[in-house]
Protein backbone atom coordinates (compact mmCIF):
# COMPACT_ATOMS: atom_id res chain seq x y z
CA UNK A 1 0.00 0.00 0.00
CA UNK A 2 2.78 2.30 0.82
CA UNK A 3 3.87 2.83 -2.72
CA UNK A 4 0.86 4.99 -3.16
CA UNK A 5 2.83 8.04 -2.35
CA UNK A 6 5.08 7.57 -5.29
CA UNK A 7 2.38 6.09 -7.50
CA UNK A 8 -0.08 8.86 -7.47
CA UNK A 9 2.78 11.25 -7.35
CA UNK A 10 3.62 10.28 -10.89
CA UNK A 11 0.70 12.33 -12.04
CA UNK A 12 2.52 15.45 -10.97
CA UNK A 13 5.98 14.28 -11.81
CA UNK A 14 7.99 16.86 -13.68
CA UNK A 15 10.22 14.33 -15.28
CA UNK A 16 12.58 14.73 -12.40
CA UNK A 17 15.43 12.26 -12.32
CA UNK A 18 14.69 9.85 -9.57
CA UNK A 19 16.80 10.48 -6.55
CA UNK A 20 19.94 10.74 -8.61
CA UNK A 21 21.86 13.76 -7.63
CA UNK A 22 24.85 15.07 -9.40
CA UNK A 23 27.60 14.17 -6.94
CA UNK A 24 29.79 17.04 -8.10
CA UNK A 25 27.05 19.50 -7.41
CA UNK A 26 26.61 18.10 -3.91
CA UNK A 27 30.34 18.28 -3.32
CA UNK A 28 30.52 21.84 -4.49
CA UNK A 29 27.80 22.96 -2.09
CA UNK A 30 29.29 20.89 0.72
CA UNK A 31 32.67 22.39 0.13
CA UNK A 32 31.26 25.87 -0.01
CA UNK A 33 29.64 25.38 3.36
CA UNK A 34 32.89 24.01 4.69
CA UNK A 35 34.59 27.18 3.51
CA UNK A 36 32.06 29.20 5.42
CA UNK A 37 32.86 27.29 8.58
CA UNK A 38 36.44 28.21 7.82
CA UNK A 39 35.37 31.84 7.57
CA UNK A 40 33.98 31.57 11.08
CA UNK A 41 37.16 29.86 12.22
CA UNK A 42 39.29 32.69 10.92
CA UNK A 43 36.81 35.18 12.29
CA UNK A 44 37.33 33.78 15.75
CA UNK A 45 41.08 33.97 15.37
CA UNK A 46 40.75 37.54 14.17
CA UNK A 47 38.62 38.39 17.17
CA UNK A 48 41.25 36.94 19.47
CA UNK A 49 44.01 38.79 17.71
CA UNK A 50 42.18 42.09 17.80
CA UNK A 51 41.43 41.75 21.49
CA UNK A 52 44.95 40.73 22.44
CA UNK A 53 47.09 42.66 19.99
CA UNK A 54 48.03 45.39 22.45
CA UNK A 55 49.09 42.95 25.14
CA UNK A 56 52.75 42.93 24.31
CA UNK A 57 53.97 42.19 27.83
CA UNK A 58 56.99 44.41 27.36
CA UNK A 59 57.96 42.53 24.20
CA UNK A 60 58.14 43.99 20.70
CA UNK A 61 55.10 45.75 19.29
CA UNK A 62 53.70 45.36 15.81
CA UNK A 63 55.48 48.53 14.75
CA UNK A 64 58.80 47.19 15.82
CA UNK A 65 58.56 43.74 14.36
CA UNK A 66 56.72 43.80 11.04
CA UNK A 67 58.80 44.12 7.88
CA UNK A 68 56.59 45.27 5.08
CA UNK A 69 58.65 44.41 1.96
CA UNK A 70 58.38 40.68 2.55
CA UNK A 71 54.71 40.98 3.33
CA UNK A 72 54.05 42.96 0.18
CA UNK A 73 55.85 40.36 -1.88
CA UNK A 74 53.80 37.62 -0.27
CA UNK A 75 50.63 39.51 -1.01
CA UNK A 76 51.29 39.89 -4.71
CA UNK A 77 52.50 36.33 -5.04
CA UNK A 78 49.33 35.00 -3.51
CA UNK A 79 47.16 37.34 -5.54
CA UNK A 80 48.80 36.16 -8.72
CA UNK A 81 48.43 32.53 -7.73
CA UNK A 82 44.73 33.09 -7.19
CA UNK A 83 44.58 34.43 -10.73
CA UNK A 84 46.57 31.53 -12.19
CA UNK A 85 44.40 28.99 -10.43
CA UNK A 86 41.50 30.67 -12.20
CA UNK A 87 43.30 30.30 -15.50
CA UNK A 88 43.72 26.62 -14.72
CA UNK A 89 39.96 26.28 -14.45
CA UNK A 90 39.54 28.10 -17.74
CA UNK A 91 41.96 25.70 -19.38
CA UNK A 92 40.03 22.81 -17.93
CA UNK A 93 36.75 24.16 -19.24
CA UNK A 94 38.37 24.37 -22.63
CA UNK A 95 39.35 20.73 -22.22
CA UNK A 96 43.10 21.32 -22.34
CA UNK A 97 44.74 18.97 -19.87
CA UNK A 98 48.30 20.05 -20.48
CA UNK A 99 47.51 23.69 -20.10
CA UNK A 100 45.47 22.93 -17.00
CA UNK A 101 48.34 21.10 -15.37
CA UNK A 102 50.80 23.81 -16.32
CA UNK A 103 48.70 26.50 -14.72
CA UNK A 104 48.36 24.38 -11.65
CA UNK A 105 52.12 23.99 -11.54
CA UNK A 106 52.52 27.76 -11.76
CA UNK A 107 49.99 28.18 -8.97
CA UNK A 108 51.78 25.60 -6.93
CA UNK A 109 55.14 27.28 -7.31
CA UNK A 110 53.67 30.65 -6.37
CA UNK A 111 52.02 29.11 -3.34
CA UNK A 112 55.23 27.43 -2.30
CA UNK A 113 57.14 30.68 -2.59
CA UNK A 114 54.54 32.35 -0.47
CA UNK A 115 55.05 29.77 2.23
CA UNK A 116 58.80 30.06 1.87
CA UNK A 117 58.69 33.82 2.37
CA UNK A 118 56.34 33.51 5.29
CA UNK A 119 58.46 30.95 7.08
CA UNK A 120 61.50 33.05 6.40
CA UNK A 121 59.77 36.05 7.92
CA UNK A 122 58.84 34.02 10.99
CA UNK A 123 62.37 32.80 11.43
CA UNK A 124 63.68 36.34 11.28
CA UNK A 125 61.21 37.40 13.92
CA UNK A 126 62.25 34.61 16.22
CA UNK A 127 65.85 35.66 15.80
CA UNK A 128 64.89 39.13 16.86
CA UNK A 129 63.51 37.73 20.08
CA UNK A 130 59.90 37.67 19.03
CA UNK A 131 58.78 34.11 19.41
CA UNK A 132 55.58 32.26 20.11
CA UNK A 133 55.67 32.69 23.85
CA UNK A 134 56.87 36.27 23.99
CA UNK A 135 53.50 37.82 24.64
CA UNK A 136 49.81 37.44 24.02
CA UNK A 137 50.33 39.60 20.95
CA UNK A 138 53.01 37.29 19.60
CA UNK A 139 50.98 34.17 20.32
CA UNK A 140 47.89 35.44 18.63
CA UNK A 141 49.87 36.83 15.71
CA UNK A 142 51.68 33.59 15.01
CA UNK A 143 48.53 31.57 15.46
CA UNK A 144 46.44 33.68 13.13
CA UNK A 145 49.00 34.03 10.38
CA UNK A 146 50.27 30.49 10.93
CA UNK A 147 46.81 29.03 10.56
CA UNK A 148 46.51 30.69 7.20
CA UNK A 149 49.95 29.38 6.27
CA UNK A 150 48.90 25.92 7.34
CA UNK A 151 45.85 26.15 5.12
CA UNK A 152 48.00 27.14 2.17
CA UNK A 153 50.39 24.28 2.86
CA UNK A 154 47.54 21.80 3.04
CA UNK A 155 46.30 23.20 -0.23
CA UNK A 156 49.71 22.64 -1.79
CA UNK A 157 49.75 18.98 -0.79
CA UNK A 158 46.26 18.53 -2.05
CA UNK A 159 47.03 20.24 -5.32
CA UNK A 160 49.87 17.83 -5.87
CA UNK A 161 47.53 14.89 -5.45
CA UNK A 162 45.13 16.43 -7.93
CA UNK A 163 47.86 17.03 -10.46
CA UNK A 164 48.86 13.39 -10.21
CA UNK A 165 45.31 12.32 -10.82
CA UNK A 166 44.97 14.70 -13.76
CA UNK A 167 48.11 13.32 -15.28
CA UNK A 168 46.81 9.81 -14.87
CA UNK A 169 43.20 10.14 -15.80
CA UNK A 170 42.86 13.38 -17.64
CA UNK A 171 39.76 15.51 -17.25
CA UNK A 172 36.89 13.39 -16.01
CA UNK A 173 33.82 14.33 -14.07
CA UNK A 174 35.58 13.47 -10.86
CA UNK A 175 38.81 15.32 -11.54
CA UNK A 176 36.90 18.27 -12.89
CA UNK A 177 35.05 18.49 -9.61
CA UNK A 178 38.31 18.36 -7.72
CA UNK A 179 39.89 21.16 -9.71
CA UNK A 180 36.84 23.31 -9.23
CA UNK A 181 36.96 22.71 -5.51
CA UNK A 182 40.62 23.46 -5.08
CA UNK A 183 40.45 26.63 -7.10
CA UNK A 184 37.58 27.77 -4.92
CA UNK A 185 39.72 26.96 -1.91
CA UNK A 186 42.61 28.90 -3.35
CA UNK A 187 40.57 32.01 -3.99
CA UNK A 188 39.25 31.74 -0.49
CA UNK A 189 42.74 31.66 0.99
CA UNK A 190 43.61 34.70 -1.02
CA UNK A 191 40.60 36.51 0.40
CA UNK A 192 41.60 35.59 3.92
CA UNK A 193 45.07 36.87 3.29
CA UNK A 194 43.71 40.24 2.25
CA UNK A 195 42.19 40.59 5.68
CA UNK A 196 45.38 39.43 7.34
CA UNK A 197 47.27 42.04 5.40
CA UNK A 198 44.77 44.71 6.33
CA UNK A 199 44.05 43.95 9.95
CA UNK A 200 47.38 42.54 11.08
CA UNK A 201 50.05 44.15 8.98
CA UNK A 202 48.67 47.42 7.68
CA UNK A 203 46.95 48.36 10.90
CA UNK A 204 49.99 47.15 12.78
CA UNK A 205 52.45 49.46 11.08
CA UNK A 206 49.98 52.27 10.58
Amino acid sequence: MAQAVSQHGHDHAHGHDHGHHDPQELKMLGFWIFLITDVVLFGTLFATYVVLHNNTAGGPTAHEIFEMPGVIAETFILLTSSFTSGLAVLAMNAGKVKQLISWLVVTWILGASFIFLEVDEFIKMVHEGFNYGTSAFATSFFTLVGTHGLHVSMGLGWMLLIMIQLARKGITDVTRGKVNVISLYWHFLDAVWIFLLSVVYLMGVM
Partner: protein, 113 residues
Protein backbone atom coordinates in the same frame (compact mmCIF):
# COMPACT_ATOMS: atom_id res chain seq x y z
CA UNK B 1 26.20 7.49 -13.00
CA UNK B 2 28.76 8.82 -15.39
CA UNK B 3 26.47 9.20 -18.32
CA UNK B 4 24.09 10.88 -16.03
CA UNK B 5 26.32 13.62 -14.80
CA UNK B 6 27.43 14.28 -18.32
CA UNK B 7 24.22 15.80 -19.39
CA UNK B 8 23.61 17.62 -16.17
CA UNK B 9 26.97 19.21 -16.51
CA UNK B 10 26.45 20.15 -20.07
CA UNK B 11 23.83 22.72 -19.48
CA UNK B 12 25.55 24.98 -17.05
CA UNK B 13 28.90 24.72 -18.75
CA UNK B 14 28.19 27.46 -21.21
CA UNK B 15 27.93 30.30 -18.75
CA UNK B 16 29.72 28.78 -15.83
CA UNK B 17 33.11 29.45 -14.33
CA UNK B 18 33.61 32.88 -15.77
CA UNK B 19 35.68 33.89 -18.75
CA UNK B 20 39.25 34.96 -19.27
CA UNK B 21 38.06 38.53 -19.38
CA UNK B 22 36.42 38.37 -15.99
CA UNK B 23 39.53 36.84 -14.48
CA UNK B 24 41.76 39.53 -15.89
CA UNK B 25 39.48 42.32 -14.78
CA UNK B 26 39.31 40.77 -11.34
CA UNK B 27 43.04 40.44 -11.14
CA UNK B 28 43.67 44.03 -12.08
CA UNK B 29 41.04 45.29 -9.69
CA UNK B 30 42.49 43.36 -6.81
CA UNK B 31 45.98 44.63 -7.52
CA UNK B 32 44.73 48.19 -7.54
CA UNK B 33 42.76 47.62 -4.37
CA UNK B 34 45.85 46.26 -2.69
CA UNK B 35 48.08 49.10 -3.75
CA UNK B 36 45.77 51.83 -2.51
CA UNK B 37 45.94 51.00 1.19
CA UNK B 38 49.61 50.13 0.93
CA UNK B 39 50.41 53.54 -0.42
CA UNK B 40 48.23 55.25 2.12
CA UNK B 41 49.71 53.39 5.05
CA UNK B 42 53.34 53.30 4.10
CA UNK B 43 53.47 57.00 3.34
CA UNK B 44 51.42 57.89 6.41
CA UNK B 45 49.23 59.99 4.22
CA UNK B 46 46.21 60.20 6.48
CA UNK B 47 45.47 60.23 10.17
CA UNK B 48 44.41 57.14 12.03
CA UNK B 49 40.68 56.96 11.51
CA UNK B 50 40.59 57.61 7.77
CA UNK B 51 43.46 55.19 7.29
CA UNK B 52 41.58 52.43 9.06
CA UNK B 53 38.54 53.23 6.98
CA UNK B 54 40.50 53.05 3.75
CA UNK B 55 42.12 49.78 4.78
CA UNK B 56 38.83 48.17 5.65
CA UNK B 57 36.91 49.49 2.68
CA UNK B 58 39.51 48.34 0.18
CA UNK B 59 39.74 44.96 1.90
CA UNK B 60 36.01 44.47 1.73
CA UNK B 61 35.93 45.61 -1.88
CA UNK B 62 38.65 43.20 -2.71
CA UNK B 63 36.77 40.42 -1.05
CA UNK B 64 33.78 41.31 -3.19
CA UNK B 65 35.98 41.24 -6.28
CA UNK B 66 37.20 37.76 -5.38
CA UNK B 67 33.66 36.62 -4.84
CA UNK B 68 32.31 37.91 -8.10
CA UNK B 69 35.18 37.59 -10.52
CA UNK B 70 36.94 34.52 -9.17
CA UNK B 71 34.48 32.56 -7.11
CA UNK B 72 31.46 33.26 -9.29
CA UNK B 73 28.91 33.63 -6.54
CA UNK B 74 26.48 35.08 -9.01
CA UNK B 75 25.95 31.78 -10.73
CA UNK B 76 23.06 29.71 -9.68
CA UNK B 77 22.18 26.16 -10.39
CA UNK B 78 18.93 26.00 -12.23
CA UNK B 79 16.28 28.03 -10.53
CA UNK B 80 17.12 26.89 -7.03
CA UNK B 81 17.55 29.39 -4.25
CA UNK B 82 21.09 30.64 -3.82
CA UNK B 83 21.98 28.63 -0.80
CA UNK B 84 25.62 29.47 -1.10
CA UNK B 85 25.00 33.21 -1.00
CA UNK B 86 22.65 32.88 1.94
CA UNK B 87 25.13 30.78 3.84
CA UNK B 88 27.88 33.26 3.09
CA UNK B 89 25.86 36.23 4.27
CA UNK B 90 24.88 34.47 7.45
CA UNK B 91 28.48 33.42 8.01
CA UNK B 92 29.74 36.95 7.56
CA UNK B 93 27.09 38.22 9.96
CA UNK B 94 28.29 35.74 12.55
CA UNK B 95 31.88 36.79 12.03
CA UNK B 96 30.88 40.38 12.49
CA UNK B 97 29.11 39.50 15.72
CA UNK B 98 32.04 37.45 16.97
CA UNK B 99 34.57 40.16 16.30
CA UNK B 100 32.63 43.25 17.32
CA UNK B 101 30.96 41.52 20.26
CA UNK B 102 34.31 40.39 21.58
CA UNK B 103 35.78 43.83 21.26
CA UNK B 104 32.82 45.41 22.98
CA UNK B 105 32.72 42.99 25.87
CA UNK B 106 36.44 42.79 26.36
CA UNK B 107 36.99 46.53 26.54
CA UNK B 108 35.72 46.32 30.09
CA UNK B 109 37.95 43.43 31.01
CA UNK B 110 41.30 44.30 29.59
CA UNK B 111 44.28 43.27 31.61
CA UNK B 112 46.33 46.24 32.63
CA UNK B 113 48.09 47.05 29.41
Amino acid sequence: MANHSDHSHGHDEAHAHGSLKSYIVGFILSIVLTIIPLVVVLNHMLSQLPTILIIMVTAVLQFVVQLFFFMHVRERQGNQPRWNVMALIFGLAIVLVVVSGSIWIMTYNGVGY
